[in-house]
Amino acid sequence: MKGYDLLKPVEILLVEDDPGDIELTRESLKANKITTNLNIVHDGVSAMQYLSQEGAYSDAKRPDLIILDLNLPKKDGLEVLDDLKTDQNLKSIPVVILTTSEADEDIIKSYNLGANCYVTKPIGFKEFEKIVRSIEEFWFTVVKLPLQV
């Protein structure tokens, strides 16, 4: 790990409304060598509250990585992405879009808004696990991220 304290768990914010996918993500992270702290919010509004430590999220830790679904209730993933990538404080947090959508429009829009990568949800647990693991591995062992303040 580069730039991270081995003993300190990695903070991941998962913005996902589907309980099945939350479960799959949780299961995929279980068998990993990296200690992760998976924080979950179920809609776009909560995601922004979490990131700004508002209300119930006043104790929320700044995530090291955000996994963001696009199809969300109240405020959709693209809006969340737009908000946090234009926020001076939040824009350095890497955002992985993890969605069912294979639409070119969604892919283009996501990257234009500053998404760090775009991944479509695969079919089957094995594939899902592989993808979550490679996301984790890439962002926490391969690339160098800015140190948390």
Binding site: D18, G20, L24, T100, E102, P122, I123, G124, F125, F128
Partner: protein, 438 residues
């Protein structure tokens, strides 16, 4: 005395006679001269008269000619007037002559019929009264430009209101004849009834709009359905896998077999949905036509299939192909599907695929030919239907989308696709690409 006197008297008389005679001679001479002068004058006179007569004759002839010419002109004029009258009255187009000051000068029968008024009624109406309110402004604008000598004529699509309240669609042409000072003397209007044409056009426009809407809805539906359908599918396969992994003791051999069926079903469903999505996307990419070198396209496909070609020892023969105006992705899919099928449905020891192009009138004819299993005549139409398969999945894999996509792509480009085949011998897929774009 008397003798002398007498002699003297005689002498005197003789003298007098002499004198008289001299005078007579003299007069005679003068007369002669006068006579000759007179003769001369008469001659001269005669000459003049002759000349004058000649001149008169000439003038007379000319006059006659002029009269004749005038008669001809008058005849022609009458003929022209008749022509004009006929033209004005019998023409299948509404015509009116108006003057700015005096209003209607002349209207033809056809115009009255078009508007649904009698001639008397029409003459009582004004141009503006008959105009469909929304169309008055643009007409007036142009008319005023004509009055200001900015233009001499104009034409436009214009609606009128018939007597019975119906809308009359016309193509209106207006031109003017000017006085010497340049001001408008009178105005000629031609009105062509285009109501039927417009009605068809409006219906067509509405229908096209409907079609576009329903097409869009259909595409949207296929798109949304594909995504939404994939969600539960992912749940089925993911949690089935997770279930087996977490609780291996709960599943025996039979259970594992069932689970493999569940997973296989889910995978197939996913493929079908992805194909459906692909098919619906064909409708959205049709407009982007550009010049494409088909030799390059075939080169790329050869690369895609290089493994398969090597394994099955396929002999791929490609004749020189043209450059055509097509959607590159679309034509790529067409050749990819046809070549893929030619290799897939082929059990020959030496599979052979021949791709050729032939120039025909205003189009290119392409042929993808193989020595494969062939297709029975009764199925040759059906194979272009979406998800239509002729073989079990055990025999040949696939969802049956390929040819339906080809057909959609070719037809969207204005071409046609068909098949000629002999069971166990060969299959030839033909398709055309016309020069014109639709």
């Amino acid at each position: 005395m008397s003798g002398i006197n007498y002699r003297a008297e005689l002498n005197d008389a003789l003298n007098t006679i002499q004198t008289l005679r001299d005078q007579l001679y003299c007069a005679q001479d003068e007369l002669k001269v006068t006579n000759s002068e007179l003769m001369q004058m008469t001659l001269e006179m005669d000459k003049r008269v002759a000349k004058r007569t000649e001149e008169l004759e000439e003038t007379n002839q000319q006059l006659k000619r002029e009269i004749e010419e005038r008669k001809q002109i008058e005849k022609k004029l009458l003929h022209n007037e008749e022509l004009f009258r006929k033209y004005f009255e019998l023409g299948q187009v509404g015509m009116a002559m108006t003057s700015v000051e005096k209003g209607w000068l002349k209207v033809n029968d056809y115009l009255c019929r078009m508007m649904g008024y009698s001639r008397e009624e029409l003459m009582q109406m004004t141009w503006a009264e008959m105009t469909y309110p929304d169309d008055l402004e643009p007409d007036l604008y142009q008319f005023n430009r004509m009055l200001k000598s900015e233009i001499d004529s104009y034409s436009m699509d214009k609606r009128f209101l018939r007597k019975n309240g119906e809308i009359l669609y016309t193509f209106l042409s207006v031109s003017c004849v000017r006085k010497e000072d340049g001001s408008v003397d009178y105005v000629i209007a031609h009105l062509q009834d285009i109501t039927d044409k417009m009605k068809i056009e409006i219906t067509l426009r509405e229908r096209t709009k409907d079609l576009e809407r329903s097409n869009k809805e259909l595409e949207q539906f296929a798109y949304v359905a594909s995504h939404d359908l994939q969600e539960p599918l992912r749940k089925i396969s993911s949690f089935t896998e997770l279930f087996v992994r977490r609780f291996p003791d709960l599943v025996d051999e039979k259970g594992r077999k069932y689970i493999s069926y569940i997973l296989d079903g889910a995978r197939r469903m996913q493929k079908l949905i992805q194909d459906l999505l692909l098919y619906s996307r064909v409708g959205r990419m049709n407009v982007d036509f550009q010049e494409v070198n088909l030799n390059e396209i075939i080169g790329k496909i050869k690369q895609d299939y290089s493994k398969l070609i090597a394994i099955k020892h396929v002999k791929l023969i490609v004749h020189s192909l043209p450059v055509v105006m097509v959607n590159p992705t679309g034509i790529y899919q067409v050749f990819q599907n046809l070549i893929g099928n030619a290799i897939k449905f082929n059990q020959s020891d030496r599979p052979q695929v021949i791709i050729s192009a032939k120039r025909e009138e205003e189009k290119w004819l392409f042929c993808v030919e193989d020595n494969g299993i062939g297709i029975e005549p009764e199925y040759q139409e059906r194979i272009f239907i979406i998800f239509q398969r002729l073989h079990t999945r055990e025999e040949y894999a696939g969802t049956g989308i390929g040819l339906s996509v080809c057909k959609k792509i070719i037809e969207q480009r204005g071409g046609r696709i068909w098949i000629e085949s002999e069971i166990g011998v060969e299959t030839k897929f033909f398709f055309t690409i016309p020069d014109y774009l639709i």
